[in-house]
C-alpha cells in the first residue's frame, strides 16, 4: 500500500523535520488508546486471578488460592448447567429468528424505492431504543391487568397467559423483546449487502427465465453469505452475553428460568458476594465469546477490506 511507504519519503523531502519525531509521533498519538487497553486488561487479569481463588466478600478471612476449584465445582453443579443451557437456548433462538426475519425483511425492501427506504428508517427505531428500556416497554404491554398484549391474547381465548412471569412462557417473552430490538440490525446489514451485489448475474438469470427459487438459493444466498455470516456472528456474540433485557424484565426469574451467564454472574457477585465463583463463570463465558470473536474478526476484516476497496 502506497500510504505505508509514502510518509518516510515525505520526511526525507522535508529536511526541517528530523526523522525521530516522526517515529515517535504514532506512539504519542495512540497513548490514550493504550491507556484504555491497560484499563481493560488490568481488571481482566484480576478477574482471571479471582476465578482461581476462594473469594467471598462476606468471608474475607477464607480467601485463598484454590486453583481450578471454582471451575471443577461447576461440573457437578446443576445451577451451572442450567445457566449454560439457558444461555445457549436463548442465543440459538434469538439468532435464528432474527436472521430469518431480518433476511426476509431485507429481501422485501431490496428495491431502493422511497417507501422501502422510509420503512427501513422506521425499523431503525427499535434498534436505537435502549434494550433495558425496551424490556420495560414490553413489561407494560404484557401486564396481566391492563397490558394490551394480554388483552389481545385474551381475545383469542387465552385468558391466563402470564408472559415473563410464568416459567413456561418467560423465555418466549424475552426472546420476543430481543427479536423486536435486534432484528433491524440484521435487516440493515443484509439490506446494505443485498444492494451492493453486482446486478449482472440477476439480469442474466432474468433473461434466461431462471425460476426465482433457483436465483435465490444459487445466486442471492451464496453472494450474500459473507454478510449473513458477519451479521449472525455479531448477534451471536452479543446474544450469548445478554444482560439488559433479561435483567430489566425478570432479573433471571421466575426461579432460575432465565439465568443466563451474565445475570447469574451479577447475582453471584452482588447477592451472594461470591467473587471467585462469579469471576469463574465470566471466564467461561469469555472463553466461548473469544473463540467466536476470533472467527468473527477474521470474517469481518475480509468484508471490511472489500468494502473499502483494498482487496
Amino acid at each position: 500500500m502506497s500510504m505505508v511507504q509514502s510518509l518516510p519519503t515525505n520526511a526525507q523531502a522535508a529536511p526541517a523535520k528530523p526523522r525521530p519525531r516522526v517515529r515517535l509521533l504514532p506512539y504519542l498519538l495512540s497513548l490514550p488508546a493504550l491507556l484504555i487497553c491497560v484499563a481493560i486488561l488490568v481488571p481482566f487479569v484480576t478477574a482471571a486471578v479471582y476465578s482461581l481463588q476462594r473469594y467471598r466478600l462476606n468471608l474475607p478471612y477464607l480467601r485463598g488460592f484454590i486453583g481450578a476449584g471454582n471451575y471443577i465445582d461447576f461440573l457437578s453443579d446443576p445451577a451451572f448447567w442450567n445457566t449454560f443451557q439457558v444461555s445457549i437456548t436463548y442465543t440459538v433462538l434469538t439468532v435464528v429468528v432474527e436472521l430469518l426475519l431480518g433476511l426476509g425483511i431485507a429481501l422485501l425492501l431490496r428495491r431502493p424505492t422511497r417507501f422501502h427506504n422510509a420503512v427501513s428508517i422506521m425499523l431503525l427505531l427499535p434498534l436505537m431504543t435502549a434494550p433495558a428500556i425496551a424490556a420495560l416497554m414490553w413489561k407494560l404491554m404484557t401486564n396481566p391487568s391492563f397490558g394490551i398484549l394480554s388483552y389481545m391474547v385474551s381475545l383469542f381465548g387465552v385468558t391466563d397467559f402470564k408472559w415473563a412471569s410464568d416459567p413456561s412462557s418467560a423465555l418466549f417473552t424475552v426472546v420476543l423483546v430481543d427479536v423486536w430490538v435486534y432484528t433491524p440490525f440484521i435487516m440493515i446489514l443484509l439490506l446494505a449487502g443485498l444492494r451492493s451485489l453486482p446486478r449482472q448475474p440477476f439480469e442474466a438469470a432474468a433473461l434466461d427465465g431462471v425460476p426465482a427459487s433457483f436465483v435465490f438459493f444459487r445466486i442471492t444466498l451464496p453472494m450474500l453469505a459473507p454478510y449473513i455470516i458477519t451479521a449472525s456472528l455479531f448477534r451471536l456474540l452479543d446474544s450469548i452475553q445478554q444482560f439488559d433485557i433479561i435483567y430489566a424484565m425478570t432479573q433471571g426469574g421466575p426461579g432460575d428460568r432465565l439465568m443466563v451467564f451474565q445475570v447469574q454472574a451479577y447475582l453471584e457477585f452482588f447477592q451472594y458476594t461470591n467473587v471467585g465463583r462469579s469471576a469463574a463463570l465470566l471466564m467461561i463465558l469469555w472463553l466461548i465469546t473469544n473463540i467466536l470473536s476470533n472467527i468473527f474478526i477474521k470474517n469481518w476484516l475480509r468484508l471490511r477490506e472489500r468494502a473499502h476497496g483494498h482487496a
Binding site: 500510504m3 510518509l7 515525505n10 495512540s30 435502549a130 428500556i133 458477519t230
Partner: protein, 285 residues
C-alpha cells in the same frame, strides 16, 4: 423480482404491513399511554381514542409523584440530566483521544498500533461484567466509584473502540497525497492533520460520535454497577422508577418516552450514517 404477479404484490403488501405493526406498535402504544391517566390505562377493552392529559409529564418534571399512599419524591429529571452529562462528556473525551489515535493507526503502520486496535476490538465482544466487576472493586479503593469522572472513564470502553475503528476506516480512504502536498508547502503534521485530514474525515467522525453517544445513552450495565441513585442515567433510573412507583403506569410510560426520545431523534437525524457505524465500517452504506 422486478415485475411480480398480483398475488406476489398482495403478499408483499401484507408482509410489510405486519412487519411495520410489529416494530412500530410498541413505540406508538407507550407514547399514547404516556398521555393517559391510570383510569384510562386500566380500562378494558382499551380504547384508541381518549382525552390526553399532560399530568404524567408534569409529575415527572416536578419530581413529585402522587400515589394513593401519598406524595413521593422521584428525581427522574436528575436521571435525564445525568444521561446528558455522562454521554456528552464520554463522547467528547473519546473524540479527543480517539481521532488522533485513529489517524495514527491509519497513517503509520506500527506493531503497537495493530495490537491496540485488535485488543480493543476483541474486548468489544468480551462480557462487560468481566471487566466491570473487578473494576468496581478497584474503583472503591481509588474513590472513583459513584463519580461522574469514574463513569465517564468507563464509558470510554464503549465509545473509544467504536470511534477508533470507524474513523480509522475514513482516514484510510483519504489519499495521503493531499497531506503530503500540504506538508511540502512547509506546514507541520499537526496543521495537515487539523486542516486537511480531520475535515475530510468529517462525516466519519460525525457518524462515530453520534453512534457512540447513542450507545453510551442506551448503556445500562455500566451505571447499574458503578453509580448510585444520584449519578444514575435514565436506563437505570427508569428501572428503579418502576419498582418505586408501583402502579403509576402513565408516569412509567412518560418516563420511557423521555428516556428514548433523544436517541430516537438522533437516530432519525443520522440514519444515513448508522449502517456504516453499526457494522464498524464493514459495510459501506
Amino acid at each position: 423480482m422486478e415485475h411480480s404477479s398480483l398475488a406476489g404484490r398482495i403478499f408483499r403488501g401484507i408482509a410489510l404491513t405486519l412487519i411495520l405493526i410489529f416494530f412500530m406498535f410498541p413505540i406508538v402504544w407507550i407514547f399514547m399511554m404516556s398521555f393517559q391517566n391510570n383510569d384510562q390505562i386500566l380500562r378494558i377493552p382499551p380504547r384508541i381514542l381518549f382525552e390526553p392529559t399532560l399530568a404524567n409529564y408534569e409529575a415527572l418534571i416536578s419530581g413529585q409523584l402522587r400515589t394513593a399512599a401519598g406524595s413521593l419524591q422521584m428525581p427522574f429529571m436528575r436521571n435525564l440530566f445525568n444521561s446528558v452529562v455522562l454521554s456528552s462528556a464520554a463522547v467528547l473525551l473519546a473524540l479527543l483521544l480517539g481521532v488522533p489515535a485513529a489517524y495514527a493507526f491509519a497513517r503509520f503502520k506500527f506493531r503497537l498500533g495493530e495490537t491496540i486496535a485488535f485488543t480493543l476490538l476483541s474486548f468489544r465482544f468480551a462480557p462487560p461484567l468481566l471487566v466491570l466487576l473487578p473494576l468496581s472493586l478497584y474503583y472503591q479503593e481509588l474513590g472513583l466509584s459513584d463519580t461522574y469522572f469514574g463513569i465517564v472513564w468507563v464509558y470510554q470502553l464503549i465509545a473509544l473502540p467504536l470511534i477508533l475503528w470507524i474513523v480509522r476506516g475514513y482516514f484510510e480512504d483519504i489519499s495521503p497525497d493531499i497531506e503530503h502536498a500540504y506538508r511540502l508547502a512547509g506546514h507541520s503534521w499537526r496543521e495537515a492533520f487539523t486542516r486537511i485530514a480531520v475535515p475530510l474525515a468529517g462525516p466519519g467522525i460525525a457518524a462515530a460520535g453520534l453512534l457512540s453517544f447513542i450507545f453510551c445513552w442506551n448503556n445500562f450495565v455500566f451505571a447499574l454497577i458503578l453509580a448510585s441513585a444520584d449519578k444514575q442515567p435514565v436506563t437505570v433510573g427508569a428501572l428503579a422508577f418502576v419498582t418505586a412507583s408501583g402502579i403509576q403506569y402513565g408516569q412509567i410510560a412518560a418516563a420511557i418516552v423521555l428516556s428514548v426520545t433523544p436517541t430516537l431523534l438522533l437516530a432519525l437525524y443520522a440514519q444515513r450514517y448508522l449502517v456504516e457505524g453499526l457494522s464498524l465500517g464493514a459495510v459501506k452504506g
